[in-house]
Subunit: 202 residues, 2 copies
Amino acid sequence: MKKSTKEKIFDTALDLFSQKGYSAVSIREITRTIGIKESSLYNHYKNKEQILESILIHFRNDFSKTLPPIETLDQILANTTAETFLKAGHRNFKEYMENENGQKMWRILQVEQFREPLAREIILRDFFGTVIDFLEIVFTKLIKMNRIRSISPKLLAIEYQYPVFSMLTEYNILKFDGKDTAEVEQRLDQHIEFFLEIIKIN
Amino acid sequence: MKKSTKEKIFDTALDLFSQKGYSAVSIREITRTIGIKESSLYNHYKNKEQILESILIHFRNDFSKTLPPIETLDQILANTTAETFLKAGHRNFKEYMENENGQKMWRILQVEQFREPLAREIILRDFFGTVIDFLEIVFTKLIKMNRIRSISPKLLAIEYQYPVFSMLTEYNILKFDGKDTAEVEQRLDQHIEFFLEIIKIN
DNA sequence: GTCTATACAGTGATAGAC
DNA sequence: GTCTATCACTGTATAGAC
């Protein structure tokens, strides 16, 4: 349960960066929060930039774990309806949204995206790309199985996921101000219902 | 054609803030770029924060002009098909996307959203809210006129616009790195075609 | 409206004692 | 692995001459 100094630095930096942005947070502020001297920090991280880098890399690994492996897809899809599958993904996603560290990571990505090439890469590749590619495969399989209407799988992936990205943006801004998120959560539910209606075979 | 010092400060700050973020840009950097002394800047702006504020307020006014006034809606809709109307909006939006200052403003909003309450307000209210409300009115009218299928106007507004927000995010990251945006632009076209198909009365 | 001069707190980072 | 001490530099901002 005891956190190492390195972990304390990581967690504190994660928290402060996500609130003020990398540039507005000083080494002094991080170390003061933890209760160590500035010089001690350099025993754990080479410099300030490396703290951010370690946060971004950690997030990237973390995020890649949220989707089920492609190899297991056939088996999963054989045993569930399209509706159940998408709604399970939805629950998964909601859990991620409600996770405090997930929100912090998301904020850092948003805020550092034009200052930090790695942030852009994570947003484009891991966040947009990976999810869209995954969904395209899912919809391709479901169409072949004749379980949903035959519409371009890539288009379906976009129609399903892109609104979710926007809702996540909205959700996180509201959360940051401690405002009510019921409406945007309801929108997400409605979106999924609507999408299921579109792909349903009549 | 000659820019006043105040305009130079505004433009330079807009450019630098949009690349590095507010906190990472110093007064020194702004004044050095223009070729004046730091102290001279304070003749035009009270402090650094006020420069950002003036940028945000300028953007807000600018953005509110991109939608046609509600009063003119009935007349516009009487003379155009739903398809023509949405495609005109699409062109309008694309023009905005390709505008350099529009891209800079968007980047600033993204980057300052958790540090600057006004940025959050603009994103939520002016960017998300205004457009969704506008579209909801449009779709309500089109349904009453029996020109599109009868689906919840609010839901239609979301299904239409939210993917566009995400595509704008993607577009601007690609643009920032000078990468090819053909694919995301194609996605936007496909999305609109797909949406038109959904709302079409058979 | 721009300049010089100045203030002074905060910045990331290092050397070396313990 | 943490500390003290110190570094050179950069940060915003102001006073007052021209």
